[in-house]
Amino acid sequence: MPPRRDDNLQELWKRYRHGDRRALSRLLTLAREPGRGAPVSAFDAQVAGAARSGSRVVAFTGSAGVGKSSLLGALCQLLDRRGKSIGVLACDPESPVTGGALLGDRCRIAGTELSERIFIRSLSARTGQQGIAEHLDAQLDLMRGFGFEVVLVETVGIGQGDTAVRNLADVLVLVLQPQTGDELQWEKAGLLEVADVVVINKGDLPGGDRTVADVTQQLRLPGRDVAVLKTSAVRGEGIVELWEAIEKKCAAAHTPPAPAVFGGRGAGREGARSHSPGGPPHPDTLPAKTPGAGTGPMTDPLLADIAHYVSQPPEFSNEAYDTARLCLMDSLGCALLALNYPDCTKLLGPVVPGATLSLGARVPGTTYELDPVQAAFNIGCLIRWLDYNDTWLAAEWGHPSDNFGGILAVADYLCRLQLAEPSTLNAALTASVTVRDVLTAAIQAYEIQGVLALENAFNRVGLDHVLLVRIATTAVVTRLLGGSQPQIVNAVSNAFLDGGALRTYRHAPNTGSRKSWAAGDATRRGVQHALWAMAGEMGYPTALTAPRWGFQDVVLGGKPLVVNRPLGCYVMEHVLFKVSYPAEFHAQTAAEAVVALHPQVIGRLDDIDHIVIETHESAMRIINKTGPLNNPADRDHCLQYITAVALLHGTVTSDMYEAEAAADPRIDRLRDRMRVVEEPRYSREYLDPDKRSIANAVQVFFTDGSSTPRIEVEFPLGHRRRRAEALPFLREKFRANAATRFDVERIRELVMLFDDPDCDKMPIDRFIDLLVPE
């Protein structure tokens, strides 16, 4: 009756790494059946790879009926109240005859109310397995790798001789009850020799204290330091003390592990760990002069990582700086072009007429002088208005250049503040903010926004990706303002608490111009948070992971934010420029291929039998459209339409999406003859972090059996692999955009600046001087 479930291992591992509980659950079953669906070795390697995390593994053993499950349940409740994520593996015996098992631990552990933070899995243990389930080691690795802070294991209660679990756990708890055996019994109990903590449960029964005394006496051996406690699971007594004893043993066994995840439940894997602040805190972070978060041990690792990265950036490559310079040029060019659109300019200027700031931050192309918050909105709004500069495609989309709004506004504000009132400034800021500083901040903002976009799809929960602009701007702008790491944590934690704007304005029937100012709004908010943090406002150290009320539980439905690579300059190096055709980005290479075919095909349109477009999965999903297209936005997001007009005209321009051009009947005739197929290699390489291709191939077949060559374009112009090729186009684009506001002489000066790394030394206010009208 139920359809066979999908056991595609690769898919399962991917989902597992994204913190998908269902994938964990399925893998726990498959771990019991090595070899199924994949070579054993592959499975083992994956498990071993997953296992390196900071979970504490605590095993409970003891005879049947002493109350292990109830004790675990009481402990789970305690840990849940403390916001810990908990995984439980509970073993029950399996019938050696039928293989059947009645797994009742779950109901004793979970009670009637089960928190989402607790994952319980019942396992069956065969006889002869020393009381633990077969393959428990692999299953334990899976639990660790998923990122639970605490993993509790309950063995089958078979009592003596059950020491196998010792090797798998950090701490072994032996559970006894009063009046179990006489003094002689303890002499032969092997378990007593390996336990770290001994609990006399049901301590409310008569004889409890006597048993505690007996055991304590027994364990008084040189070199042995075993905690002996009395608990009553049903009354909830001694549970806090039990956890304290376990934690103490954990600390003694290891240095306390840095949590591998930002939410407990399976987040960042290798990369996240490698840049987690496991080491001693940086001296900057020690005197937390500002109230609130700082970067103490309780701070969410992601917040601490961002603060550390922004304050102490690694060395960035020259390629990153060169690309950043191009991004700045392209963003400013697009901003200048946007000034020609009244729909945009009506939003610009001070909050209300007159609320300007003499010697405040400038807005390129205008004469406004504003406070940095409003200036950030103005610049951000201009940069994004035409959606015509760099872009970043990942699990979430976006335009990291939006951060230039906040960065430029604050940089210019600081430089001019210094001119206006040098005495009011803090010593750290006596050197001017240079173009170089702005580029560094941009590289960092791109990285924070782009890396968070790699794995976290906010669109899936209906939120707009501009929330990442707010986070990134907050971090880098706090730094520009001279903020310490604790202040950056405070600011960024507040930025997360804002949640996110809904994507409503990006979707029919409500598509609207807010999509063009939403980023400006986000970068403005980032500047506001930075200023508040600098004024000493507090932060919220577990803004992300706080149970129930934190960002992850509220916004992501409990899923953790995943960061799968260390923060560096990857995003800046790989960012895409829009330089070729005004068309949806996944269709850019199809347009390029078809433009190359145009001369061979234009004379033979009536002879075309069919056209094959090979593409990648994202294009299949987003822009593979047949049937009527309703408006320009519909047309510029249709792979077949873009291919048809490029074939007909040998180029693609914005006009070709308008109703007039769309009336050409040849377009739909061509569309009818197109076959769009997915090329698996393209889909794979689209996601490959080293390639990030956006490939399409086009071939036209004629009725006489002949065909054109198959033209494949893997990387669009503007891709990292075609930077040099794109450079002249980018310069030309800037010239054309700037020409709508400035004279030739000024433009020549600006273009020279963007080409000259020496311009990096220039104070930013002098640079902006060139961008404001006389």
């Binding site: 139920p2 269902r22 059946e33 019938s95 293989g99 059947g100 098992a101 009645l102 109901c107 009637t112």
Partner: protein, 136 residues
């Protein structure tokens, strides 16, 4: 005999304010003896908690027993919950007192089978084995 393959796993649950658990316990033991891995949830579970158990336990089946007349409320909640978590491959079987007219409606909504009072364990075992998702 035990094999390398995991036996079929079934979560048996009592949902809502219904304390009649004699029947479900008999079924639990019967299925165990027939070689199933039976995860018994205990009394007074919320539909959410039961669906979470099905997910975390990687169960093939969910069996609920309802004798208090709340089936028209609870069963759709369970079906919805399973769907929400992408657990459409899980077969839902229902025991207890469910009037025929209601059975027809619930079956349309996604219940795989009903096993009312008087059903033998063999009937249930036979059904579950014949409709196993994965060949056993």
């Amino acid at each position: 005999m035990a094999t390398d393959r995991t036996p079929q796993r079934i979560v048996l649950a009592k949902v809502g304010l219904d304390g009649h658990d004699r029947g479900i316990k008999v079924v639990a033991r019967g299925l165990r003896d027939a070689g199933f891995h039976v995860i018994y949830s205990g009394l007074w579970q919320s539909p959410d908690a039961v669906v979470q158990a099905v997910q975390d336990e990687d169960a093939d089946w969910l069996g609920v027993s309802i004798l208090n007349g709340a089936h028209n409320t609870l069963v759709p909640l369970l079906i919805d919950g399973l769907h929400q978590r992408g657990l459409d491959h899980v077969g839902l079987i229902v025991g207890g007192i469910i009037p025929k007219a209601d059975q027809a409606v619930l079956q349309q909504q996604g219940v795989a089978a009903f096993f009312g009072p008087g059903t033998s364990i063999d009937t249930i075992v036979d059904y579950l084995n014949r409709h196993a998702a994965t060949p056993r």
